[in-house]
C-alpha cells in the first residue's frame, strides 16, 4: 500500500471515528451525574439533526443549529422532569428500561412529525463535492467541523467536570446520591441538568454530522450502538477517553476494509474491542478502582 492510500484510509477512519466519538460523549454526561446509561441518547442526536434541518429552512445555519440544540435540551429536561424525577429510589435496571422506552417514544414521535424521508443540513463549508487536499489525501471540510466540534466539547466537559463547582456537584451526585443529598446538594435538579446537557451535546453532534451521514427518524439506534461501544471502550464517564476510543475504532474499521472484505469490518473491530475489554475491563482510560464502586 502506498503512503498516500494509507493516509486516505486514515482520513476515512477519522471520519467514522469522529462521528462515533461525538455521540459517545453524550452518554458520558448522564453517566457522570447518575451512574446510568441513557439509551435515548441516540434519539437526542436524531432530534438535533431533524430540528436543525427544519429550522434551517427559515433561519441562517448557525441559528438553526443553536435552535436545535436549545429545543433538544428542552426535550431532555422535559423527559427527565416527566418520567425520571418522580421515581422513588430509581434502580439502575428501572432507569435503563425507562430510557429504552423513551427512545422508542421519541423515535416514533419523530416519524409522526417528520415522516420517513432522509434529510440533512447543507455542508457547513463548501458542498457535497468540496474537499481539502492535504498532501496527497483529500478530506471533506465537514469532517474537520466534526473533529473540531468534538474537540471543543471535550475541552468544555473536561473543564466543566474538573474545575467548576457545578461539575463537582454533578460528580458527587453520581458517586453517592444519598451522601450528596445529605450535603445539601439539589440532587434532582442536578440530574435534570445532566439530561439537559447530554441532550444539548447530542443535538449538536446530530446537526454537525448530518451533512455526512444524513439524518432520519431511525438513525438514533445505529449511532447509539456505536457511540455506546466507544463510550465503554474509552472508559465510561471519560470524555477524552471517548474521543481517543472513537478515533481508534474508526481507524481500525477503515484499515480492516483495506485488507479484508467490508463485510468483516464489524467482526474485526468487535474482536479487538473484546480483547481490550478483557485486558482492561474499565476501558482504555477508566479507573478500575472507581468503576468497582459503581452499580453499573
Amino acid at each position: 500500500m502506498t503512503l498516500e492510500l494509507l493516509l486516505q484510509y486514515l482520513v476515512a477512519g477519522l471520519t467514522y471515528g469522529s462521528i462515533y466519538a461525538v455521540v459517545a460523549i453524550g452518554f458520558n454526561i448522564v453517566y457522570n451525574a447518575t451512574g446510568i446509561i441513557n439509551f435515548a441518547q441516540g434519539e437526542f442526536v436524531m432530534l438535533g439533526g431533524m430540528v436543525a434541518v427544519s429550522l434551517q429552512r427559515s433561519l441562517p445555519l448557525p441559528l438553526a443549529v443553536a435552535g436545535a440544540v436549545g429545543a433538544t435540551a428542552a426535550v431532555g429536561a422535559l423527559v427527565e422532569v416527566t418520567f425520571i424525577r418522580w421515581l422513588w429510589k430509581p434502580s439502575v435496571l428501572r432507569m435503563i428500561v425507562i430510557t429504552i422506552g423513551l427512545s422508542i417514544l421519541l423515535r416514533e414521535g419523530a416519524l409522526l412529525a417528520w415522516g420517513e424521508s432522509v434529510r440533512s443540513l447543507p455542508y457547513f463549508t463548501g458542498d457535497e463535492v468540496t474537499a481539502l487536499a492535504l498532501g496527497g489525501v483529500r478530506v471533506s471540510p465537514q469532517v474537520l467541523w466534526v473533529l473540531g466540534t468534538t474537540a471543543l466539547i471535550v475541552a468544555f466537559l473536561t473543564f466543566f467536570f474538573g474545575h467548576t463547582m457545578l461539575g463537582w456537584e454533578m460528580r458527587a451526585c453520581a458517586s453517592n446520591r444519598d451522601a450528596a443529598a445529605l450535603c445539601g446538594l439539589p440532587v434532582r435538579n442536578l440530574v435534570t441538568l445532566s439530561f439537559v446537557l447530554s441532550a444539548a451535546i447530542g443535538a449538536l453532534a446530530g446537526a454537525v454530522v448530518s451533512p455526512i451521514t444524513y439524518t432520519s427518524y431511525a438513525i438514533g439506534g445505529g449511532l447509539a450502538i456505536k457511540g455506546f461501544t466507544v463510550a465503554i471502550l474509552g472508559g465510561l464517564g471519560n470524555s477524552t477517553g471517548a474521543l481517543v476510543a472513537g478515533l481508534l475504532l474508526g481507524v481500525l474499521e477503515s484499515l480492516s476494509v483495506s485488507a479484508l472484505p467490508t463485510a468483516y469490518k464489524d467482526v474485526v473491530t468487535l474482536t479487538i474491542l473484546l480483547a481490550i475489554l478483557f485486558a482492561r475491563p474499565s476501558g482504555l482510560f477508566g479507573s478500575r478502582e472507581a468503576s468497582r464502586l459503581k452499580d453499573f
Binding site: 458542498d127 463535492v129 455526512i212 477503515s254 483495506s258 467490508t262
Partner: protein, 387 residues
C-alpha cells in the same frame, strides 16, 4: 364421547346456518368489498420505496372507489408496514392470507421480503404482485407470484451495454447487504464477462452505512475505470459524495434503485453525471407525445404530485402497475381468484408506468429490456442519457 357429540352438533348447526345464509351471501357479494392487502416498507431503511407505494395505492383506491369500484364492488385496501423487515413481512403475509382472507397482495417493496413470502403466497393460493426487482422472484415461476418491477438482470445488461460503448473493461462494484443488493451482485458478477468486463473489486456494505470513504479508497487502489453501485438506501448518495470528495473523476453507474429524485437532492452536485437505468416515469415530462406510455405516466404523475406535493418515483409507479394490472384482470375475469390469476398470466400489451407488460405462463414479469432507459443527472434533474 361427550366432546365428540358436542362437536358433531356444532358442525351440524354450522352447516345448516351456512346453507341458510348462502342465498343471502350471493346477493350481498355484489356489494362486498374486494380486499387487497399491501405489504410495504412504508418506514425504515427502504421507506424511499414503500412510502410512495403506499401513497399511490391510497390515492388509486380512493379514485377507483369514487368511480364505483371494480365490477360494482369497492376495493378495501389493507396496508401493512414492514419497516423492510422480512420477518414482519412473513407474519403480515400469514395474517392477510389466513385471517383477512385477502383477494391478492401487493408488495413487498424489497426483494428480500418478497423472497421470504414467495412460498407463503403460493401455498395460500393468493396472488402476489411484488414491487421489487430481483429476478429470483419469478425465476423459477411460482403460479401465483408476479412482479411488476423490471428484472435486475435487464438493468445490469443495460448498464454493461453502455460501459462497453464507453470502452470500460475494469470496474469496481459496491452493493448493500440487502436482498436487492445481493441479487444485483449475483447478476452483475454473472453477466459482466459476457460484455468483456472484469469486476476487479466487489464490496458489500451495511445497509445503514453512514460513510463509505474506506470502500471508495479500496476501489481507487484497484485502479478501476468505473464504479457501479447497487443498493436502494441513502448509501447511494453517500457513495457519490465520497467518490467526488476523493477527487475521483471516474464515471459512476447506479442501479435502477437510484430512480428517486430524493437521492439526487441528497447528493447535491456530487450526483451530476451519474448514469443509471430507470423506467420512463421519472422523465415523464420529457417523453415525446407519440410514446405509448406518455398518457399513462403523465396522468399518474399529475395526480400524485398534485396530491402529495412530492415528485413521483419509479417505486410509486410499481404500486400503480400492480394495482391496475389486478383491476384489469378482475374486470376481464370477474372476482374469482383462479380466473384472475390466469387472466394476469395471459395479459398482453398492458401499458403501465414501468413499461408495456406482456405476461405469459413462463414470464411472470412481462417486461423486456425496453422498459429501461439510461438516464443521467444534469443540473439536479433526471434527463435521458441520449446516444
Amino acid at each position: 364421547m361427550r366432546a365428540i357429540r358436542i362437536l358433531a352438533a356444532a358442525v351440524a348447526f354450522a352447516s345448516a346456518a351456512s346453507l341458510a345464509a348462502a342465498p343471502a351471501a350471493a346477493s350481498a357479494a355484489a356489494k362486498e368489498p374486494i380486499k387487497v392487502g399491501a405489504i410495504l416498507a412504508v418506514t425504515g431503511p427502504a421507506s424511499f420505496l414503500g412510502a410512495p407505494e403506499a401513497r399511490t395505492l391510497e390515492m388509486l383506491v380512493e379514485e377507483l372507489n369514487a368511480k364505483g369500484g371494480v365490477g360494482g364492488r369497492p376495493i378495501e385496501l389493507i396496508v401493512k408496514d414492514t419497516g423492510a423487515s422480512p420477518e414482519k413481512a412473513i407474519s403480515f403475509a400469514k395474517q392477510l392470507i389466513e385471517e383477512d382472507k385477502v383477494f391478492a397482495i401487493i408488495g413487498p417493496s424489497t426483494s428480500g421480503e418478497t423472497m421470504a413470502i414467495k412460498t407463503i403466497a403460493e401455498e395460500g393460493k393468493t396472488i402476489l404482485l411484488s414491487a421489487s426487482a430481483a429476478e429470483v422472484i419469478v425465476n423459477p415461476v411460482a403460479p401465483h407470484v408476479f412482479k411488476v418491477a423490471p428484472k435486475d438482470s435487464l438493468a445490469a445488461e443495460v448498464i454493461f451495454r453502455q460501459m462497453k460503448k464507453m470502452g470500460i473493461t475494469r470496474i469496481g462494484f459496491l452493493s448493500s447487504n440487502t436482498g436487492f443488493g445481493k441479487a444485483g451482485k449475483e447478476q452483475v458478477e454473472k453477466l459482466a464477462p459476457a460484455f468483456g468486463i472484469q469486476v476487479a473489486v466487489s464490496e458489500v456494505y451495511d445497509k445503514g452505512a453512514t460513510d463509505l470513504t474506506a470502500e471508495v479508497t479500496k476501489l481507487k487502489a484497484a485502479s478501476v475505470q468505473a464504479i457501479l453501485n447497487w443498493s436502494t438506501e441513502p448509501a447511494q448518495s453517500i457513495v457519490l459524495k465520497n467518490v467526488r470528495q476523493m477527487g475521483l473523476a471516474l464515471p459512476v453507474f447506479q442501479s435502477h434503485g437510484f430512480a428517486n429524485i430524493q437521492y439526487v437532492k441528497a447528493a447535491g452536485p456530487a450526483a451530476e453525471g451519474v448514469i443509471f437505468p430507470a423506467s420512463r416515469i421519472v422523465v415523464a415530462d420529457q417523453l415525446p407525445a407519440s410514446h405509448p406510455q406518455k398518457a399513462v405516466v403523465d396522468a399518474y404523475k399529475k395526480a400524485y404530485e398534485a396530491r402529495y406535493k412530492e415528485d413521483v418515483s419509479t417505486f410509486g409507479g410499481h404500486a400503480w402497475d400492480a394495482l391496475m394490472i389486478l383491476v384489469k384482470a378482475v374486470e376481464l375475469a370477474g372476482p374469482d381468484r383462479a380466473k384472475v390469476r390466469s387472466a394476469i398470466e395471459n395479459l398482453k400489451g398492458f401499458v403501465g408506468t414501468a413499461g408495456v407488460f406482456s405476461f405469459s405462463p413462463t414470464d411472470h414479469n412481462g417486461l423486456d429490456i425496453d422498459a429501461f432507459e439510461l438516464l443521467t443527472v444534469k443540473n439536479g434533474r433526471f434527463v435521458p442519457l441520449g446516444p
